[in-house]
């Protein structure tokens, strides 16, 4: 399924259904393995990707995910961009709070996934939707 992917290129996956969330997990896992992340770090980044891809689907009304192998000269890593053109996040500070949810979830998706990765950037507006970029580096 993910065999034979060219990791030199960004890998894209659209997120339109909950089966796509499963595909995002599998893609991120394949790239994390190729980036030589430890088993714990693979597990963390795949878990974060699962949370954020579900947010893209549920709150963003669907969107796309792009996974790239990155290299800062010292370490390799996995960078994932989650983009949707949904309504945006009205109160970002509130949304990043543990336990807060505007839907029916546990309120851990954003706040929890930020803890699981090394870098976490979020751009959101009502006009352009939400774009979250996360990076996990190998140790």
């Amino acid at each position: 399924m993910t065999a034979g992917i060219d990791l030199g290129q960004p890998q894209a996956q659209s997120v339109r259904s909950d089966e796509d969330v499963v595909r995002v997990r599998q893609l991120v896992r394949a790239v994390a393995v190729a980036s030589k992340l430890s088993l714990v770090d693979q597990t963390k980044v795949v878990t974060a990707a699962s949370e954020l891809a579900r947010n893209t689907l549920v709150y963003g009304g669907g969107g796309s995910v792009e996974v790239t192998v990155v290299d800062n000269g010292r370490r390799k890593g996995v960078q994932i961009v989650f983009a949707d053109s949904g309504p945006g996040i009205a109160d970002l500070d509130l949304a990043m709070t543990d336990g807060y949810t505007s839907g029916g979830g546990l309120g851990l998706g954003l706040s929890g996934s930020r803890r699981l990765v090394d870098e976490f950037q979020i751009e959101t507006s009502a006009e352009t939707g939400t774009r979250i970029t996360v990076t996990k580096w190998s140790r």
């Binding site: 599998q26 714990v40 597990t43 878990t47 699962s50 949370e51 979830g105 546990l106 699981l116």
Partner: protein
């Protein structure tokens, strides 16, 4: 949509999750299990997650919900086989798995359920006035 099979072994229902579940599959499992608990009258549910390489907040919530539902239906749930990396990630994610009993493997899970059920039977016996008169 794929479905997770539920096996009955004696007085226990055993669910071994062997696939990367979509959210819909997880919700379906919740419903299937509730039905099987009532249909079989089983007092224990073992959920084996050895094959799961991640547990995110959705699956974590599903496990908590299954534990609560089965409790209401007089069955004890034990989650077994969690991988170390999954445990580390769950804690960092902030998921506490409320109300879930865990064991390292299926065998220990079965012991836990047997012990919990035996305790319950003892308690019922103690409450029974006939049992009391029988033993002065």
């Amino acid at each position: 949509m794929e479905r997770v099979p539920i096996l009955k072994i004696g007085d226990i229902l055993l669910v071994s999750i062997q696939l990367d579940m979509s959210d819909q599959t997880a919700v379906q499992l919740q419903e299937d299990l509730a039905e099987r608990i009532v249909a079989t009258g089983c007092h224990g549910v073992i959920i084996d997650i050895t094959a799961l390489d991640i547990v995110d907040s959705f699956v974590g919530r599903m496990l908590s919900t299954i534990a609560s539902i089965s409790k209401v239906l007089d069955a004890e749930t034990v989650v077994v086989g969690m991988r170390p990396a999954v445990a580390i990630t769950l804690v960092e994610l902030g998921l506490s798995l409320n109300g879930i009993r865990t064991a390292l493997n299926v065998e220990r899970g079965m012991e836990l359920i047997a012990a919990a059920h035996a305790d319950e039977l003892d308690y019922q016996l103690d409450d029974d006035p006939d049992a009391e008169t029988a033993s002065p």
